[in-house]
Amino acid sequence: MDWQYMMTFLEFEKPIAELEGKIRELRSFSPGSGKGEVDITAEVSQLEGKLSKLLKDTYADLSPKQKMQVARHPERPHFSDIANHLFEDFVPLAGDRAFGEDEAIIGGMARFRGEACVVMGHEKGSDTQSRIKHNFGMARPEGYRKAIRLMEMADRFGLPILTMVDTPGAYPGVGAEERGQAEAIARSTDTCLNLRVPLVCTIVGEGGSGGAVAIAAGNKVLMMEHAIYSVISPEGCASILWRTNEKAEEAANALKITAQDLMKLKVIDGIVEEPLGGAHRDPERAMNMLGDQIEQSLREMAGMGPDKLRELRREKFLAIGEIGL
């Protein structure tokens, strides 16, 4: 089946979907011979031009709410896709050595463009079964404690660490609270800031609050072009401040959650451009672009000593809010 048939279209993508449907229809209507074919080819190419312009215009000016939808798009590349596509020799490592294995955060050792590293990230899952298995990317304390274990190991081995953030937030459940969710997150952030190896963190989809920060306090914090990063979900913010989650759009605007806003506020260090129409339209290309920027970030830190890496990371966070406002 044509991949476009299976694609999930977002509400604001309706005109795009219609145009794509039209093009598909024309193509399938190929009579095989005769001069009609020329007309169809011409029309298809004209419509394709129109489609590309429509995509460009739509995606150049997404509202925070639309970005939120793109960032949560089910076909956006997830951690497992990234681990498969950008890394060789990925050896997943499991467990926090205290309670359990939390598959909301996946991690392990791997080779990134030739260089050995530790890579980890939230995994949301891509169908019902895997979403349940990965708890929709909402980690419990064990997930953060596994992240701590892997980060500390990388630190001892002198391996750079790459994290991919994609979570609605840490899991709000009785067990998670019972086993110290708050402490696990605090300790994980603490660990990020204590490392003496390069740490490059990318918000690839959703950067939901403390559950995101816990693995995102890096030397370089990148955001994909249509990713979002926020102190609270716009829905949650609306229900508290506006007392209705129907005001999520207002909240999304007010909170400043887009990569472009966060770049202006000097909270992040770079934006990873996405293919036209968002990463979900061309995941492979999107991941390659992500890989290039991570490689660039690592190159910028090459030759920095362990103490320098830690010091610069700490200073960078202390400077947030002092500049750029």
Binding site: V174, G210, W242, F317, I320, G321
Partner: protein, 290 residues
């Protein structure tokens, strides 16, 4: 919330604050409903004489209850950019700040002071729940960093009293960034071998509990304080079940190994004096050995 905050208009409240409170004002215990003279309630350190419920306590009274002979110096809290996101919900953020400032007489939700507890000099920072729910924005983050820096510079232990509903949403991502920022300040103390002591008070949740509130060398909780990452309402909505009895209270955290002790407010000064004196002994020995 106390009788005072419930019924007296903000302007008036400022005038009535602390020592000016007339003798005939009553406080109704939020837990057992008993009426207590406000003056007696304050003298009892905001603890209900009938049921021992520990009510929320403003920073000035906290300092007075801890420092030897009520003698301490307030640290200047850094000025921060106001309303960096131009945030507006049903009210403008600057208007919310104005109300909170009028109600409390303070600039923001944190104060810090230096003084002696049981003879040991230390820096104490106190979050003020009465200022926008003690929420953590740039001012609170900077306040903690400034207090930790002062402790570091003067080679002193740092005691942090937490009280907060979490991040200040009106500062968006900049409030979230206070989690790593305050952590860096605490790492400075840790690297210097200086003790960081946390006293968890009611309530401590969200981004505050998931950063500096849980990173203490020694964790003390006041009785009955609600301490959580996700609030009970959020959890109930997620799992759609009733929550266990005593869930997310100090005693529950003690049973689950998350705090060293649950200490009655009347015993807190003595307990802190012991902890401070013991934990600083090594630092002084090290210094003498050099």
């Amino acid at each position: 919330m106390s009788w005072l905050t419930n019924y007296v208009k903000p302007k008036l409240q400022k005038v009535l604050k602390s020592k000016d409170t007339p003798d005939n004002l009553w406080h109704k215990c939020k837990s057992c409903g008993q009426m207590i003279f406000h003056k007696e309630f304050v003298a009892n350190l905001y603890v209900c004489a009938h049921c021992e419920t520990h009510d929320r306590m403003p920073p000035a009274e906290r300092f007075s209850s801890l420092f030897d002979n009520d003698n301490y110096d307030l640290l200047d809290m850094p000025k921060v950019k106001q309303d960096p996101l131009k945030f507006r919900d049903s009210k403008k953020y600057p208007d919310r700040l104005k109300i909170a400032r009028n109600t409390t007489g303070d600039e923001d939700a944190i104060k810090a002071a230096v003084g002696k507890i049981g003879g040991q000099e230390c820096v104490v920072a106190v979050q003020n729940f009465f200022f926008m729910g003690g929420s953590m924005g740039m001012a609170v983050g900077e306040g903690i960093i400034a207090a930790a820096r002062h402790a570091h510079k003067m080679n002193l232990p740092f005691v942090m009293f937490t009280a907060s509903g979490g991040a200040r949403m009106q500062e968006g991502i900049l409030s979230l960034m206070q989690m790593p920022r305050t952590t860096v300040a605490l790492q400075m103390l840790r690297d210097a071998g200086l003790p960081y002591i946390v006293v968890l008070t009611d309530p401590t949740s969200g981004g505050v509990s998931a950063s500096y509130a849980m990173l203490g060398d020694i964790q003390i909780a006041e009785p009955g304080a609600m301490i959580a990452f996700s609030g009970p309402r959020v959890i109930e909505q997620t799992i759609r079940e009733k929550l266990p009895e005593g869930f997310q209270r100090s005693e529950y955290l003690y049973d689950h190994g998350m705090v060293d002790m649950v200490t009655h407010r009347h015993d807190l000064k003595d307990r802190l004096a012991s902890v401070l004196s013991l934990s600083m002994a090594g630092a002084y020995r090290r210094k003498a050995a050099v």
